[in-house]
Structure formats: C-alpha cells, structure tokens
Symmetry: D2
Subunit: 295 residues, 4 copies
C-alpha cells in the first residue's frame, strides 16, 4: 500500500527487506537527537526508494521543539550538517517554498523572514556596520504557482542566472507517514527538491541538474495524509491488519491533516531552521548577534 | 470504544440500537443542507448520549463553505434556527470561546470580531446613525484560562450579572469523530456548553443552570483526535475490525488534528456564523448593510 | 524649501508660477472624484518637476475609501485609466513593491495577494475551469533589499527576461506632502518607478528604459514626512511663514508618519487597487466572479 | 493653545511658569534613562495640569528600544518602579486597553498576550510545574466599546467584584505632544486611567475611586495629533511663532499620526512592558524562565 512520505528515512522503513540494494543507512544519537544518514548510491536504490540518488540526513528530536534544550541541539546539529553539504564559500541563494497563507505550508516563507540576507552589505556599508567577513546570502520566498502564475522553477532559474550563487538552499514543508514525526524531524539532503514533494505537492524540480549549481534542501514534515495516519495509528495500537484491502480513493484519502497546535509548531520549526542556517552561513557571528540582527 | 465527539448527532450514530430511549431524532434536507434535530428529553437519553437534555440542531453542508451557494444557505438556515431558539427580544450577550492564537480553536474570537455589537448605540447616537430599532447585542472573546488566569465561567457570570442579558449565545470550535465533518457542519443547541467540550477540552459549563438565563451554543467541528480518525478512515475504506482491542494511551491517541487548509476553513466558518448571528439579531437590516458595518 | 512628495500633482502645486514650461495639467470631476492629468513633455518640464517625462493621472477621492460609493467609483475609474495606459493584449507582470511587515509600506504585497494570477491557467485547466479568454497575468511581491539581499531591479529584470511580458505594472506606497492625501489619492503613471521614490525611498528604477517594455506604476500615498506635514498644517491654519529658515536636519525631519488608522487605510486601498487591476485585465469577468476567485 | 497629551511630564513642560503650585517635579538619570517623577499633591496642581492628584513617573529612553541595552534598562527600571507602586502581595488584575486591530492602539492587547497569568496555577498543578511561590496574576484584554457594546469600565468593575484583586494594573497606548517621545517614553502612575485619555480617547475612568482598589497605569505614547506635531517640529527647527493664531478645527487638527515603523515600535514596547510586569510580579523567577513561559 502506498504511503505518502517525503522522508527518505520512512521510505527505508517501509521496505520489506532490511537491506535494499544501492541504499546505505546509518544512525547514531547525539545530544538526545537520533541522526540518520540514508545514502542512495545507484539506480536500483533510487528505484527502490522512489527518490533521487544522494544523501538524506534526518534529525529526530526528542520533542516538538518544546524545550530550549532540544531547540539548541537541533540548531547546532543542523548548522554542522549544513556546513558539510554546502560549498565552503561563495554566495548562497536561499529559497523558501510554500504558501504563507496556509499555516502548515508556510515553513519556507517564515524561515526566509528570519534569515540574515547579506548580499547587499558590502564596501562602505559593511565597514560602517562592522561586518567585514560576511558570506553573501540572498533569500526569497517566491510564493506558489496559484499566487504568482509562474512556476517556482521559472522564478528560481532566472534568479540563479542573475545572482550566480555557488549553491542554492531550498526550505520546504513536507509530508510524513507518521503523526509523531510532524514538527519533530528535520531532513537535510543534497539532492534538492523532487517534483511532487512538499505539502503543496509542488510540481517543481530544483536540483543541480536544473539549476547548474549544488542544491541542498531542508524540510520539516508538517502534514500527514489521513489514510496513512489511520494505518499508522492502528499499528501503533496493536491492531493487526494482515491483508490490507485496496483503499478506496475517498476524499479522506486525499485529505492532509496537521496537528491542532500547528501555529506553535510552525513558529518553532521556522526559528530553529532559520537560526541553524544563519549560523552555518555566518560562523563568525555569535548566536546573540544573529538573533538581534534578524529580529 | 470511546470516540471523542461534541456533536450529538455523532453520539446518536454511535449508538448500537437504532432507537435510544429518551432520544428523538429527525432529519430533513433543505437547499442541499441536511438538517437534523436530536432531542434528548429524559435522563435515560441524557445518560445514553452523555449529553444534557435539550435540542441539538445540526446543519450538514454539501461542501466546506467553498461555494457562495453553500455559504448563503448556511447563513439563512442558521439565522432561522437561531431565531427560534433565542427569546424574541432583549439584550443578547455573545461569547466567543477559544484561543485566537491556535487557528483551529479561534472560531469564537474570529466570530466576535465580525459581530455587530450594538448595545451602546442608543439615544442620539442611534438616531444620528439611522439605527432606531437595533436589538441590543454585547460581545466578548474573553480568552482561555491559560491566557487570563480566570475561568471563562467566572468572567461570563460576572458580565451576566452586570449586563443582565435576556440570553447568552456561546460560539466554540468543536471536536468531531469524522474528518469529513470538519468545517462542513454547524451544531446549534439550547443546552449551552458542557464541561469537557470544545477544541480545548474546556472545563467551563455555561448553561441556564449556571447563568440564570437561556444559553444557546453554536459550534463547528474543526478537529478530530487521531485514533478516532484512524478508525473512521479504516471503516470508510472497508477495513473490517471485528474485535477492537483496547487502544493504548499513546501520545497519538491524545493528538488532535485539523485539515491542512485550516486557515481558510476557519475564515469561512467564522464569517458564516457571524453573519448568521447578525442577521438573526438584526432582522431589520439587510445583509449588505450588515456586511458594510462589520467590515 | 524641499518638500518630499512622490505625487506629480504636488510637484505642480509647489511651482511658484501657474504655468511651467513643458508641463500640461488638466483636471475634471467625475462621480465625485477629481481626476487630474499632468503631462511632462520635455526636458524643461522634467527638470522643473524633478520627474521623468510622461503622464501622471491622479484620482482624488472624496473620502478615505470609507464609503461603498467611493470604493466603487475609485475602482471603476482606475480600471478605465489603466486600460488606456496598458497595451491592449499580452501578458502583464504585476510587481508589488514594499515590505509586508511595515504596515504603511505593504501596499504592493497586499495588492498582489488579492490579484487573480492567471498565466498558468491554460489549455485543459482553463477549459475545465470555464476560463477560456483570460489575459495572462503573473504577479510577485519580491520583498525589499534588506530582506532579500537582492535589488528589486535585479529580481524584476531577470523575471522579465524569462516571462517576456508585454508590460509591467508596479504597485507601491508613496510619500505625499499633505496628510489629507494619505489613503485618498491614487496616482497612475506610464513612467514607471524612479529611484528614491516610495515609502522606503527605494533605490530601484523600473521603467521602459531598464526593462525594455512599457512600465505602468500605481501608487497611493501612505506617509508624509514630519517637517513637510508641519508646514502644511500650519499653512492650512493660516500661520504665515514668509521667510522659512533653513530647516535643521533633525531626526524629526527624517521621520515619516502615517495616520493612526493605518491598518484600515491599507486594507481598503489594497482592495480597491487590486480589484481595479483585476477588472482592467479581465474585462470579461464580472466583479462578483473576480471577488469570489481572489478570496 | 491646546496641545493634546497624556503625559504629565508634558503638561508640566507646557506650563509658562517654572513652578506650579501643588506640583513637584524631580528627575535623575540612570543607565542612560532619564527618570522624572511628577507629583500632583493638591487641587491647584490638579487644575493646573488637568490631571488627577498622584504620582507620575516617566522613563525617557535613549532610543526607541532599538538596542538590547536600552531594552534591558527599561525593563529593569520599570519592574523596580512598578514594585514600589503596587501592594507587596495579593492578586493583581492586569487590563490591556485598546483595539488589537489598530496597530498604534494595540499596546494593551499585545502586552496581555505576553503576560504570565498565574491565578489558576495553584495546588497540585503548581507543585507539578515546580511553581510554589507564584503571585496570583489575572489578565484580560477586553476590547473597545465599538467591539463589545460594553464600556470597558463595566467589564472591569464586574471582574474586580468577582476576582477581588489587591490591585489593578492597566496598560494603554497614549498620545504625546512630541514625535520624538513616541515609543521612547514609558509613563507609570498610581492615579489609574482618566476619561478622555489613550489613543482611542476612551471614555472610561479606571481608578481607586471607581474600582475600590489601587489602580496603577502604564502607558507608552504611540500617536501625536497633527497640529501639535506641526508646532513641535517648527519650534525644533527654530521657526519663531510669536503670536499663534487660533487654529482652525480642520480635519488635520483631529488627525492622529504615528511613525511609519509603527509595527516594530509596538512589538518592542509591548515586549518590554510585559517583561517588566512579569518580573515585578514574579521576582522569584529569572528573566529566562519568564521568557520561556510566555513564549
């Protein structure tokens, strides 16, 4: 049965076999956070998981960013992993996907509003502000197709041609199979964005193939589709279900849900992601400096 | 198994017998809207459904208020039914329950912000404004216990003593068993609010017994708990489940979910409820007049 | 003395002579709205008014869009004038300038959120939706330099190269000399946006010269600088001031102010501008259809 | 000439004589903040300043709460002064006046949303949460007359009868004479709220006389009326104006303005006021604890 997920980790979990050809999966725990790295290294692995080749790092947090401790750990680990995936220097264009008017889809726009965009802070301006070693960061939340009439790919491709960044970093809200993963998981990948992913099931592909520069994507699952949720909850409660019948394509099948506390969940996720990015891109600035700049 | 619902209609549906002692249930369809009236008329009925005696009218809409046609029908039917339940004249105090910062819980505050509060428009002020037959309406969204440190009942009881309304009308977001009912159902009851109901599982009772005047409650389901949802989706998809084991009290059991499009759902529900109330309380004003006043 | 204004009409009013070489100014009144057309047709006129050559149409409304009558008149007149300035057919790219987090600067982003973006509604999608004669409209609110690290001109130039529109339509909040003009005036010009204009004193030029296609700009004044306001109020109250001393560059000199009711003013202005544009670009759709689409 | 102000300090400044009978005025500077205490101690002083007898403490900050240093100083000084004015123990009812939909009037509601309401955290709940010495705090933002149809005084009087606090603390946005004072000044007074004050020119009186318990009011000026501003700016720029003619009652006379950056100004003022109150009322909790609770 087809469970909708944007997390490579969940694709691995759904595999009947413990080992899949072309897929390597490792995990460790650090500061209470389980860090998994799934690497898809050939076409067989890509076909088995239904995802492009590359590395998918997942941070599974002990709570939904409710404690200061979890937020600090998430931010630090995200910054470290991000630095490993991005080129060491050069302009980074950050793209926040999603519709700011749909709360569980607004991760990208919310993050962008908390980023320290620096590309214009050069020369005299930088000197006066006491910023002389800033890495150049550009950032945009372009909106979604229904708002702009333009495919996000069109917008980003034309900006890449103009801004000529060393790398693109895309932020998007994701779908997961498991309710417990919403707001508690961060996925980081060097494969960019594949068509059909994200809360809005976006049509866009944003990858090194389409943009010509490395594309790193960061996502947090914020929705789960109702049928996937149903199966997951039942299993978690020990309800056996040996021969699953083909599920009807009911409306509920297509309905995506999000936790009641979606507003708080989004605010916390956006802050941690944005501060993790700020820290990764401006390692010379302290957390406090970054916080006071972007507020 | 215990399914969480604030809709009397769903309590009836969950009964194993087609007829429950002390409960009368009728339904009809008008303008595409199924209108059900459940009357609980003795203690046996009250015990069977776990709800106070009184009448519960439910409007089941053909869509989630997406079409202008559905919105118009809902507004008209709500205004009619409300007029039947409220006393014909005298001050009405409208209370919007819920936390405005939690989107699926914000029905009450959102409605109150769209109401035409008129109690202060008297004498010269009324004459100048051309309003001489306004019914007195007071309105408040008091916030929730965690925000105010005061039980909502304390706040409302003291206001009732001061304002001395003829009736109190309470608006609250509800829990339902079925995902398809979220944002598509309106419940109207002359029993007021029972403890433990609402999205926030509020402890408050607001009823004729506690307030000394008739209390009418209007609600729209906006959340469903994950386990209830799971069972509902599985059943809708033909998954048989003969002997349900006792569900574990997992975290998911307690997690309430709401549709991804919660923002739009809330805006539409709030507008229809508020305009239905405005129309019921100011029958001399046209819809257009009301709309231009409250905007 | 230098009064800060983005309205050509006010530049004309400030001229000591009743006639300025190279400037033609006409006005008429229609539906209670005073419509002025200032045409700058040579370099002398351009130098005298400090504005590029072209036509500046100003609608002065009888109130701050408080009445339904004024809103309807403004919308109709704006749509008519806009149709005259824009090419008769072909894709239009609408750009909403400004910072959505600064209320008096948020005209552009607010308008864009109410526009009917249609460029992607083609082929089967258009047929199914019953839209077969839509004019292609793309829309974006790119944010400001401090948010994106990219000059707005960079973003728009690269989108123009990609989308290849027949015309660009820019919306921006403006500065005026007179408090009474805030929220009551709409300026429409075929000269685009000049550097140093707008609430944010943006550095961007967006014109036929820089973009290679006709650029029409729509603006509403929402701020006035404190010194300009001071002189204006004093004069309106009959305080004579024959030899104005050179004003000190105090902080107040640089402080821009907006009316207390700025939220309502912005909402109303954005709705009228957006609906005027929607109507001008989709003349086959009724106002009601447009309203239900963009809501 | 009549300048509109809610600051006792400005009433003093406007007095032609350096000393007014019945008024004592002292000032000192601490951490870069000028602290003035105006005491009106008899009827002559009250008549001269047009304000009730009592003490008015004003904090004049070196900037508009832009720097972390100023925010910290303001918070500390506010907490200290507040502790002196409030009774040492007993329940405090905090009331946030104003309309949350009008940005410069939303100080009260914004502050209330950042307060730590504790009155319900008692017994087992308090023990479990590790809070055993909390001072009881209740808080409400009741909305304005046009929203509720109830005078704020009616609402607060009935809540005081019910909650029986030891003191009431009222927060409101104020009018000032001087643009430079907006967002840079905090006034604290033991006289409560006088009719006709506040951004909304509220009709309410909230004082020991009407409520029967001490009433402390905290306010920040956020608006200035245009004529007052005009005179102030002209004087600051050295424009002499020996015989001011009677100002016409033009519309501008009545128009209140606020800085362009009103959103940021309000957010910062609300945070400082709320944290100052939290600290004054819960001296056993650290700033960090308070911050993590109310966020």
């Amino acid at each position: 049965m087809n469970k909708r997920t944007d997390l490579a980790l969940e694709n691995v979990e759904m595999q009947p076999k413990t080992r899949t050809d072309g897929v390597r999966s490792l995990s460790q725990t650090q500061s209470g956070v389980r860090i998994s790295a799934v690497t898809i290294y050939n076409e067989a692995g890509s076909a088995a998981l239904g995802k492009p080749q590359g590395t998918y790092v997942t941070l599974e947090l002990p709570d939904r960013l409710e404690t200061a401790k979890t937020r600090a750990a998430a931010q630090t680990l995200l910054a470290q992993r991000l630095q490993r995936m991005l080129p060491a220097r050069g302009t980074v264009l950050v793209v926040g996907l999603g519709n700011e008017n749909i709360t569980p889809d607004a991760l990208g726009p919310k993050c962008v509003s908390l980023l320290f965009a620096t590309r214009h802070i050069t020369g005299e301006l930088a000197k006066q502000a006491g910023f002389e070693n800033l890495r150049a960061v550009a950032a945009i939340a372009p909106g979604v197709l229904g708002q702009t009439g333009m495919e996000t790919a069109e917008i980003i491709e034309s900006l890449v041609q103009r801004v000529k960044p060393q790398a693109v970093l895309v932020i998007d809200a994701l779908a997961s199979c498991r309710l417990t993963r919403l707001g508690t998981t961060i996925q980081l990948t060097d494969t960019g964005i594949a068509p059909g992913s994200g809360v809005g099931n976006r049509r866009v592909e944003l990858s090194a193939r389409t943009l010509g520069v490395p594309v790193v994507a960061i996502g947090v699952p914020t929705v789960v589709d109702a049928t996937t949720l149903a199966l997951d909850v039942l299993q978690a409660n020990g309800v056996d279900q040996p021969q699953a019948p083909p599920l009807a394509q009911s409306n509920e099948r297509l309905m995506m849900v999000t936790p009641k506390e979606v507003d708080l969940m989004m605010d916390r996720a956006a802050e941690v992601i944005a501060m993790g990015i700020n820290r990764a891109l401006q390692p010379d600035l302290s957390d406090e400096e970054l916080r006071s700049i972007v507020k």
